[in-house]
Symmetry: C2
Subunit: 385 residues, 2 copies
């Protein structure tokens, strides 16, 4: 299959491209390479030095003889999107090419507008490009479980049957997004659903949980293939951040009570889920939604797991510090989201165990000298101050 990875320079996009390439698919990457600029502007960087994308592709070609053509372009430039769609004509499009940080989107007006403009208009351009040049292609779009928020009922996968005053219908699951970033994903979902309905496009919206992990089978083949691993307050996900704090002997910063429960999954399971979606495409005109995570934990649970794992590998007694929650979110709530659709397609989860945390902790320990301590603490408040 011909798989186009949008955002193939990023934490998830790069290993996704390698994953499909290693399995015999024809892969191309489209990316505007903006991440280094974003990182530089806010003063953060990935823990392991990430090679230039062109160099990583060369390393991959040298190892495997498998090429990954690179289209440097911006989804905001519709001509660039039309060009890649017309020349590559993908069977599947995996779309990670969005500003991915909730706290970044909450820094101020510029960042909120950038996030929504970039994500929503970029995806609109993509939909128009598909309509014109690849109407049969299958769009696999990365969304987030954060689109749902924490309603007091079970969260279903995208749609819910509502019985109301003697009638019933299956309708889009109501969304309670928690930041301008999460809102941008909700806007995308509505735009994509509409495009499937009126133009007959096919799409899978992956509402993904919080991803953790560093290595995949492919990136392990050469240290020069490592992906972008963030632990800072803006681009770092919570488990990755806790591992870094544990390694440097800082207390694990839990926002508020830590009762916030979320879905989590290992990086290698992200790749598995995306592959299962691509291999089992949506029908023409179908907009389907999968909830993509393997386990749920509260933030405090996670901190305790990292504490235990850190002690086990001799990192000593790591503390837990409850800091004022910069976000506005329920710190105790009901949470029972469905996640059966990817399992039904054959997902074999790599569940979070101490072995896995050990692995991350050891990798982080090797790069301890490069950790920027002052980028970890939250500095982006949600509320008006």
């Amino acid at each position: 299959m011909k798989v186009l990875v949008l955002g193939g320079d990023g934490y998830l996009g790069w290993p996704t491209a390698l994953h499909f390439s290693a399995r015999g698919h024809e892969v191309a990457i489209f990316d505007n390479l903006c991440k280094r600029q974003l990182e530089a502007r806010v003063g953060v960087q990935p823990l392991f030095p990430v090679q230039l994308l062109q160099q990583r592709v060369k390393t991959w070609v040298a190892l495997t003889r498998l090429d990954i053509p690179l289209f440097v372009g911006d989804l905001l430039n519709h001509r660039a999107v039309y060009h890649v769609m017309e020349s590559f004509v993908p069977d599947a499009i995996v779309h990670y090419a969005e500003q991915p940080s909730a706290p970044y989107s909450m820094r101020g007006r510029d960042e909120a507008v950038f996030t929504q403009h970039n994500n929503v208009v970029g995806t609109l351009n993509l939909l128009f490009a598909m309509k014109r040049f690849a109407p049969a292609a299958h769009l696999v779009k990365l969304g987030t479980m954060g689109e749902y928020g924490t309603p007091n009922i079970d969260i279903e996968e995208g749609f819910i049957e509502i019985a109301h005053k003697g009638r019933s219908d299956v309708l889009p699951f109501p969304k309670l997004p928690g930041s301008f970033y999460h809102l941008s994903k909700v806007h995308d979902s509505h735009n994509i659903m509409f495009s499937c309905r009126v133009w007959g496009l096919r799409a899978t919206d992956l509402n993904q949980g919080v991803v953790y992990g560093i290595d995949t089978d492919e990136t392990r083949r050469d240290p020069r293939l490592v992906t972008s691993f963030h632990y800072d307050e803006l681009f770092g996900t919570v488990l990755n951040r806790f591992c870094v704090q544990a390694v440097v002997g800082l207390p694990l910063t839990v926002y508020g009570e830590g009762g916030q429960t979320r879905g989590f999954l290992n990086l290698v399971d992200t790749l598995q889920c995306v592959e299962l979606s691509v291999l089992n495409p949506a029908a023409a005109g179908e907009f389907r939604v999968f909830n993509q995570f393997t386990e749920t934990f509260s933030v405090l649970d996670l901190a305790t797991k990292v504490q235990t794992a850190a002690a086990a590998i001799g990192l000593g007694n790591v503390g837990i510090q409850h800091v004022k929650n910069p976000r506005i979110e329920a710190e105790r709530h009901y949470y029972n989201p469905a996640h059966t659709k990817l399992a039904a397609l054959g997902l074999k989860p790599h569940l979070l165990s101490e072995v896995l945390i050990d692995d991350v902790l050891r990798r982080v320990k090797d790069a301890k000298q490069d950790i920027l301590l002052d980028t970890i603490q939250p500095r982006t408040p949600w509320r008006r101050e």
Copy 2:
């Protein structure tokens, strides 16, 4: 009260500004005056010549001694929005300043992107301006009943109690918007709801039905005060368009079967609803939704009513022509939307009667020579062709 009307140059915005001014409120208008350019680009114009906004304000001042300061600026320019918010400091903000046409948004990529960018980013800038300079102001935002689509259950006002697997919650009513324009309004609603939640802003989202009518008590005071009346396929609403077709002896063009049922209201009731919302503001942090219409009709019902009214005033036997529906929408469906909240605040509807249609028909007849016949037929298909 200090009332700022965003989009005060338009069909609804201008009579709204006069309505509040006539009732003793301090009114200002903010508008980028883009409508004439939009009209020119697609080759349509309002039926009655609309005076320059500056001249209309002068006429109003001459009649009433009540001034309406004019801020010419664009919501996309956040400095312009910050300026008006800082210098006028409104108590209420009535927000009409959006691209208002569903067919226009469906013409192609440029128009879809323009519509979502203009409407969503413009409203984001407004929210940030309120947060900074007028956090206690009450935002009255014009949305549309078209955000809901036509689900197979009763449509509630913004929120619905959902009982699901033994639990329940009150959640945002699921949306099934039918064009990139309608989608932009759904995106706005989500962004505004979030801003109320995290910043404590107060907002009323008016999900308005299809408006018809030409005159209000204020515009009737001088022909130079007339508002922008459209009958073309892009900016014209259906009843206004039927009246124009009846006057020129063209068959009334019903899209498809004509079973599409919608909520309708008279222009003067729009003003009443907006006034009731402003006088009874939402609480700090509250995002409330009112469904703003007074009656529901199918499109075929409406055509029949116009037929009867036209015959009664001697316009002869007007035909009805079923044309291929350019939109993708159900032509037979259940439709029972709630609309009790504005009634509870005191709305006294001006229901559609033959007398009212007569009034519109006579006004149109006087301007018969100015009707551009070739702008009426639908030319903007929803489907991929």
